[in-house]
Amino acid sequence: MDIAPKVPVKQSNDVVVDKPETSWSDLWKKEDYWAIWLGTLILVIGLFIYLPNPPRDMEQKLGEANAVMKAEAERAPFKTIAWHEANDAKGKLKASDEKSAKAISAYLAKPKGWTDSPASSFFMTADGAAAKREKATVKYEAAKTAAVEAKALAKAAEANAAKAGFKDDALNQQARDAIKKWRGAHSAETKAKGAATAKPYNVVGTMAVLCVGIALLFSIGLTFMGKSVKEFLVAFPVVFVLAALAYFLAGQANVKALGLEYVLWALVLGLLISNTVGTPKWLTPAVQTEYYIKTGLVLLGSSILFGKILLIGIPGIFVTWVVTPIVLIVTFWFGQKILKIESKTLNMTISADMSVCGVSAAIATAAACRAKKEELTLAVGISMAFTAVMLFAMPAVIKLTGMHHVLGGAWMGGTIDATGAVVAAGAILSPAAMHVAATIKMIQNVMIGVIAFGVATYWCMKVDCAEGTKLTFQGAAKEIWARFPKFVLGFVGASIFFSYIYQSLGSDAGKVMIDEGVVKGWASGLQGWFFCLAFVSIGLATNFKDVAKFFKGGKPIILYVCGQSFNLILTLAMAYLMFFVVFPEITEKLMAQ
């Protein structure tokens, strides 16, 4: 990461200070602005692809499903079969499933998950698909039969409860249990269906098209920034191939189950090259870490939807939006005052990474405070190591102590860094724990826009400004503007704009069109590729010795451990207070079947 445009100015007292300067030409000459222009272009294209093509009869289907759930909720004291089917029907409505959207998003494909055959990550022949279908059909048929039988039993139990006017507690409980069993069987059937309907594919061709597309996209900005596009285009395919390899390694079933994501592999591959044979000089024009990260962050802004933060009411807000900033500030203070970490940017990146949501928060904060690439590498490395441990340790502790699953879910959601690991840890316990953990984490994810903006502003006002400088209000505003990382405005702007569309559509249609459309079908895929390219670039430009320098005295690990310990205690206390003392009725609703 680099520092804002600035020129050294010699003052009368012979002290040399940095004076940032801005000009109109920054709009087409600076990377920060190009990240905004390219990110905006991608998001606008996404809106044009998805918004005019909602799933057929979307409003009608949503209305019908809601009417069924409303009627069923009034009729029975538990979630009936019809309630679940209506909820499933809503879940199937996705703008990204429409024909035109599917055709376009096919070109964003990354290497697929694989178990034993590495080639299946890239392609599957018609014969291969037929063999996979044949192998999976027996399991699918068995799962289908089990689901049909379980549903019949659930129907019978529900009918018995209905006959008693839902006033017999024993019959109601029998119906709940039977429906729960049916849901399990239904879920198993859905999973088995995936393999039983395997189709041939080849992502090599689509990835080649994507490689060309991304290269041309970034070339536009490079042209205006006065960099050699020819050299970039020659080098870019190699960086892209390394990024694809990172996805390939992360897609292996055993690796994936351990929570070792593509970011780690992108770093490892880049570091391996730069620290052995060395990064060839001709490759460096495509090592554009910040350009990829900033553009990716503008795209990430589209998924920071503020309408989601009230999903589980006030308890969710307290566990995330109250605890998280406290932990962030205390950890940063601890790093500065007690551990006396030399680099403020490293301290802030680790503090945000640990308290907010791991890699994504580390990327956003590091970019906002202009941390060094070695600092980001270190923060991400520590976070991933601890996430892998917490993914398995926390469910084990919750099981051992017999902790309530709503409390356990909220605890894991507020403390484990990566969302995938949170969901996995929740799923190890129970569906209720998974639902709460996933939702808490999602609400916390939404925080990174505010955190990045806050950190960028704090850095401009308190850290980057020359110490002792006294400025007028106008002068201070000018100084802050000059030093402010402009791409953060694109990131926050995308978040506000998409939150507005989401709210305007309403949460149901917003989920179908924005969440399951523009974001997951389009922006998120490209953003993943950009971050992957960024981490390959970081690896290619980083020397192990430089990373080791920041590791002095093991202070980064001590900071993480102390901060995370505080986070674990405060989150658990707040979750208990919110879900069991102040709002127990919300816990009841979360547990209701």
């Binding site: 809601n66 759930m69 409303k70 069923e72 909720a73 009034e74 029975a76 538990f78 309630w83 909820n87 879940g91 999973k191 995936g194 390694l249 079933a253 055993n254 690796v255 994936k256 189950a257 351990l258 929570g259 070792l260 593509y262 490892v268 391996l272 620290n275 052995t276 998924s303 999903l311 589980i312 949501c357 791991g358 890699v359 994504s360 991933m384 993914l391 398995f392 469910p395 084990a396 990566a418 969302t419 995938g420 690991a421 969901v423 996995a424 799923a427 190890i428 998974m434 639902h435 996933a438 939702t439 999602m442 994810n445 989920k511 969440d515 997951k520 998120s524 609703k589 979360l590 209701a592």
Partner: protein, 96 residues
């Protein structure tokens, strides 16, 4: 000629080491082999450890993107969100 030979002998400082190219490429090859070894052998072996076997099996069976860092990359988050939202919106309110 004799003088050249004397000069060469004077510069000689022990047996020749591995060629420079080998010194550079051997760690890369070793690194690649380590990655392959990790994916093929270490990761499955770790998943078999009794402490985490059940958890790893559950994650694999549910096909959860356990390493994904953001909610948009995890299919289950969307399901959880929809389920909880509807649970709050359409829940049974007992008649007093």
């Amino acid at each position: 000629m004799a003088a050249e030979l004397i000069m060469k002998n004077a510069e000689w400082s022990g047996p020749p080491g591995p060629p420079r190219i080998l010194k550079k490429w051997a760690p890369l090859v070793l690194g690649i082999m380590t990655i392959i070894l990790f994916v093929v052998w270490v990761a499955p072996a770790l998943g078999e450890l009794s402490l985490i076997r059940t958890a790893v099996t559950a994650i694999r069976e549910e096909n959860i993107e356990a390493g994904a860092y953001f909610y948009t990359d995890v299919e289950k988050v969307g399901e959880a969100e929809l389920y909880l939202r509807d649970s709050f919106r359409f829940s049974h309110e007992p008649v007093e």
